[in-house]
Amino acid sequence: MSFELNGKTYETDEEGYLINLSEWNEDVAKYLAAEEKVDLSDNHWEVINFLREYYNDYQIAPAVRVLTKAIGKKLGPEKGSSKYLYELFPYGPAKQACKIAGLPKPTGCI
């Protein structure tokens, strides 16, 4: 699968995850978010940027439980809850947020 944006073709897997992580940019994020019907706010970007940093550090997309804990540590306890993250990304913070952040599907995402 693939999509076109600003004259460039982006390859995705069958679930819509970007194949080449280095192709990601903010416009790609906005496109993928629109596909997921997510309206990106500053709070969404905070999580997306966090995920990209996490991936850069550890080379994996975190499982939801791990993401929740790490977000709480970094951005404050009120944001480190699955309720908060599911409000931002209704189809699952790891699955949906990772896709928009240009990361692969999380390992151990059950």
């Binding site: 499982a63 390992t107 151990g108």
Partner: protein, 135 residues
């Protein structure tokens, strides 16, 4: 073998039994898929709240060596992922003393903190496990 709970206190809210799982890594990180697949299984196992420990011996030690550069063989360097294990509450990492020494390595060469055990201590730890899975 010890009792099924392995002396681990069960959370009253959780009715599941906690078993002692040991994952044994014995192969070099690249060239075969074993190391990467093993790591993925470990990450998935974390979701089940079991008592997980990881062992590195023989060439499996090389999985943890600092400064891996994989560009020339065109595969992903997944060694930073071992540093994520702590966030998954997987904190029992053991390496075999004899395997380290045979390769002229020390714990300072490794990317994560580990406990060094002799072959005999490792064997004793293995007999305590409910499940041992080797990669």
């Amino acid at each position: 073998m010890t009792e099924t709970t392995g002396g681990v206190e069960l959370d009253e809210e959780m009715s599941g039994v906690i078993k002692k799982f040991m994952f044994v890594n014995r192969k070099a990180p690249y060239g075969t898929i074993y190391a990467l697949e093993g790591l993925e299984v470990v990450l998935i196992s974390a979701a089940f709240d079991q008592d997980v420990s990881l062992v590195f011996l023989d060439d499996g030690i090389y999985q943890l060596v600092k400064g891996q550069h994989t560009k020339a063989i065109d595969v992903k360097n997944f060694s930073p992922t071992y540093r994520a294990l702590e966030g998954y509450d997987i904190e029992k990492l053991y390496v075999e003393k004899e395997s380290l020494e045979a390769r002229n390595l020390t714990v300072d060469n490794l990317i994560v903190p580990v406990e060094v055990l002799t072959s005999a201590e490792m064997a004793a730890l293995m007999t305590e496990q409910d499940v041992v899975i080797s990669f």
